[in-house]
């Protein structure tokens, strides 16, 4: 019913969007894998990061791609501090408390943003927002291609960090064996905070990659996090590879559903998959078996 190039372009667009979804899911899955909590404030932090990109661009004239480095550092620091000085101490070692604290944080952040920025939707206007590459019959948005590449590179770097550095190994050690980690001299609260910081830093990168082609309002993060959560469940809780592959897959599903069912129904496919995964493979594609 559609010609091949149109379907191919929809799939390609899905992959491009999916990579950024994957990047957002990455932080969620990492924090879950190590701290064993669902970070309900993930979406609110993403919204903050997107506003930060918008502010930096509007008031400092900073290009979103150039903002990646400073915002990554700033959001790492914010995430580190929030975990170390707010979530950690307030939880008193009970995971149930952490859930409520992150939920509370998200409500506070969202409403603070509403108070500060109203519910207006804002977007950036960069010179390259509408530039495209022409590949045969396909038109590929430059900004979204950069988004894709950025997301893949960050996923690769994160994987490398976890596999090859002492900090990464400490993170993986704490994820499965806290007492053993303490006995080799790993500071568990520090590692928790670093992990949470990395989760926030990936959101800052995602925000920089999204903003050239997307908009921001105080509730925008929530929609992304619902999708990211589906990806985490699909890919397997705590799995980096699962987040990447799940993200790309979900991106394509959303795009194809949008094409065949109409744009407003694009997300229906995502939630059907969510339910199917929970029914038939609750550990996800790459998750550890219980």
């Amino acid at each position: 019913m559609y010609s091949l190039p149109i379907v191919a372009e929809a799939m390609l667009n899905g992959l491009l969007t999916g990579a950024v979804y994957a990047l957002i899911a990455l932080g969620l899955t990492l924090v879950y894998g190590v701290l064993h909590i669902i970070n309900f404030a993930h979406g609110a932090f993403l919204t903050c990061a997107m506003f930060a990109v918008w502010l930096a661009n509007t008031f400092l004239g900073l290009d979103p791609y150039l903002a990646i480095l400073p915002l990554t550092l700033i959001f790492f620091a914010i995430g580190y501090a929030v975990q170390r000085f707010v979530i950690g101490p307030a939880s008193h070692g009970d995971d149930g408390n952490i859930l409520l604290i992150t939920l509370g944080l998200s409500i506070v952040i969202e409403n603070a943003l509403l108070a500060g920025f109203r519910s207006d939707t804002r977007s950036l206007m960069t010179d390259y927002s509408f530039n495209v590459f022409e590949v045969g019959p396909l038109l590929i948005s430059q900004a979204r291609l950069f988004g894709f590449l950025g997301a893949v590179v960050v996923t690769g770097l994160l994987w490398l960090l976890l596999a090859a550095t002492d900090t990464g190994k400490a993170i993986r050690a704490v994820a499965k064996e806290k007492l053993g980690a303490r006995l080799v001299g790993i500071n568990v609260s520090h590692v928790f905070a670093v992990t949470f910081g990395i989760g926030c830093a990936t959101l800052a990168i995602a925000a920089c990659l999204l903003m050239p082609t997307f908009y921001v309002n105080p509730r925008v993060g929530g929609a992304f996090v619902l999708v990211a959560f589906t990806i985490v469940v699909l890919g397997g809780m705590g799995s980096i590879t699962g987040a990447l592959i799940g993200g790309l897959f979900i991106g394509v599903v959303e795009s194809l559903c949008g094409l065949f069912l109409g744009e407003s129904l694009g997300q229906i496919g995502i939630f059907i998959i969510f339910i199917l995964v929970l029914l038939f493979r609750p550990t996800g594609l790459f998750g550890a078996r219980a």
Binding site: R172, I186, N187
Partner: protein
Amino acid sequence: MLEISGLRAGYGEVEVLRGIDIAVHSGEIVAVLGSNGVGKTTLNHVLSGVLTPRAGSITFEGRSLMGAASTAIVEAGLIHVPEGRKIFPNMNVRENLELGSYRRAKNNRARNLERVFETFPRLRERMGQAAGTLSGGEQQMVAIGRGMMAEPRLLILDEPSLGLSPLLVEEMFTLIRKLNADGMPIMLVEQNVVQSLEIAQRAYIIENGIVTMAGTAESIASDPELKRAYLGL
């Protein structure tokens, strides 16, 4: 080199250690013995900074470690190989060993890794295998090897024979004696009285959170009181 005196610790209302005095001198194997539930694990949790003591003193090589954080304790070289191994099941053998030098002796990592592989040739064969998939004996080797990677000034071995076959237990005690012969002081916390007393120079028996017997391994092994203390007769 390790002196514990009047140590009290517990959980909530319950006091588990009710004034413990133990000393380990350099070059020694000291056995700390007692049946289940007398406070051995609590003692180890205090010594490794997992549980904060309530009273008493812990001095290690002239420095007080009373209430110190586990990071500082590891840094000082008081290394604890815990009961139940507590190795990292999701990581391979090599990574487990490498993390042993996370806080201490990082610069000698390559050399110490080689030393661990010489002590446990089996671990070299299993280097890339996830530690959680190893047999119990091999996991115990990983746990001890991980401890060795930190170049311990004093090694605390907590129930190293637990869950091992009699043959492997024998092997484990031979290894402990060998590590000690190479110059490492060891505090051996065990339920296995007979074999522990065979390799230790001195021993302490803990009952109900206090030391009820202390002395050389021979004198304790031949003391009729031991049977009463241990078997509750």
